[in-house]
Symmetry: C2
Subunit: 138 residues, 2 copies
């Protein structure tokens, strides 16, 4: 390839990338590992008896942090509603307890783990409502 | 340390690890990275207009898979209710769409991304109800 043609070719490549709206990386590489598979998601939402009590909320966070010691929990996140507000968004809960388990068996063992039972015993007086969503790969 | 004492010392270390019931790794190291922080979790639950239609469910999964192409989605999972059943567990939905974003700004851009708008246009006729939970670190 002559120098001029090569420059033009590279120039066109650049334009092609821009035209695609994106990037040089192949899509497959960019997407590697983005899909979480073979996980059991146990996602719990808590409503407090005293929704305006910062102390009760802090107390429940303390409890969830202790609860995170359960060995079968692969990963977890303690959350609260973001500031998004649309008709379909549920944002009246106080705290979210998000956990990944390897499988349903591990999640079942977590339910009867002494750490979990102690958590319910010590902190359940704080909440008025709990909704749980357990999901596996569709 | 004399050779003999050193051997004994190492031997005792081994016993100590076994006595703990687990491993050589310190607990802190074993837990490193288990807490997911600084993530925006956007978790959506879909109820189908035809809850018993496997075809409609497959169609919506197809749509979610296309939707996963949105660049700001860091990770995602397409789920369905696990076989757990307790009073607090919501298991009447058909599909769960779990996504991690870097932050609220990225999630906001996802809402108006052409891929997302096309998803709503092409697939919203399939669902009767949607509940969204957006959470950030508590």
């Amino acid at each position: 390839m002559k120098k001029e043609s090569r420059r033009k070719f590279i120039g066109n490549l650049g334009k092609a990338s821009l035209a695609g709206g994106v990037m040089v990386k192949p899509a497959a590489a960019a997407k590697a590992g983005r899909e979480l598979k073979k996980r059991f998601i146990h996602h719990v939402y808590f409503w407090l008896k005293n929704p305006n009590s910062a102390a009760d909320k802090a107390k429940l966070i303390e409890g969830l942090r202790k609860l995170s010691a359960v060995k079968t929990i692969q990963q977890f996140s303690i959350g609260q509603p973001a500031d998004t507000r649309r008709e379909v968004i549920e944002s009246s809960y106080a705290l979210s307890w998000f956990t990944f388990f390897k499988n349903g068996k591990d999640q079942a063992s977590y339910q009867v783990d002494p750490i979990h039972l102690k958590f319910v015993e010590d902190y359940s007086h704080l909440w008025s409502k709990v909704i749980v969503y357990d999901t596996v790969d569709a």
